[in-house]
Amino acid sequence: MRKNWWKYLTSLLVVYVVIYGFLGIVPRQPILNETIRNVYFHVPMWFGMMTLMIASLIYSIKYLRNGKISDDIYAVEFANVAILFGILGFITGSIWGNYTWGDPLPKDPKLIAVEVGMLIYSAYFVLRGSFEDEQKKARLSAVYNIFAFAAFMPLVWILPRLTDSLHPGNGGNPAFGKYDMDSAMRIVFYPAVIAWTLLGLWIGTLRIRVNLVKNSILDRK
């Protein structure tokens, strides 16, 4: 119970976001209209993904330092949930873009960067699948994970800002913080980011624990 307090916090925040995301007041803007509420759901997916990727990176580095196989499990499962969040962010983005930008997949630098980034990360899982030896698999994929992270972040955060992008905060477009988001939205948006990120971490820890249990059963045999 004491160890699980953050799970209750997560639940509370997610329910709060789902209710207030719809009932709260949002600015009236042309083209966007009510779809601005997607900010509470689409954007936190990417925040969640980034946090999970950082967690995965940390455990990959940890594995390389001490060679404990449990750290490898942490790294791979956090990466798994990160990709899930990325896919969700991508799908929700293309639904949103379809009705506001007029195209589900416009040739936007941020979209292309994310597509490339996701491919880089999927190679991480392909790489893992191609080794029999556990330690070798863990070591090489940990090294690759660091590379994938180092490639992904500038792709998504820096490159789109150098050219024109439809996304806020890129290529001269104002970021959310500047004009679009007023204080009424902030009180939902910040909890939303925390809520979905924590939810991702929670799902990640469940996957990790299942795998740790599986491992200790295999060790006994």
Binding site: K7, F22, L206, R209, L212
Partner: protein
């Protein structure tokens, strides 16, 4: 007669909250059910895994 009828209908109190604002409350209700159920499901999963962990420790 007709107008009076409409007026009467509008003044009669009904449970209108869930039908107000383009029925958005219905959507909120549906989403709340889904979210809360999914969260409850996660809690159940969490408990099951905890049990497994305890069994392994024995």
């Amino acid at each position: 007669m007709k107008i009076a009828n409409i007026l009467l209908q509008q003044t009669v109190e009904m449970a209108d909250t869930f039908r107000a604002d383009g029925k958005i409350y219905v959507v909120v209700a549906v989403l709340s059910v889904i979210t809360i159920s999914l969260l409850a499901y996660l809690f159940v999963l969490d408990k099951k895994i905890s049990k497994l962990e305890k069994e392994i420790k024995k």
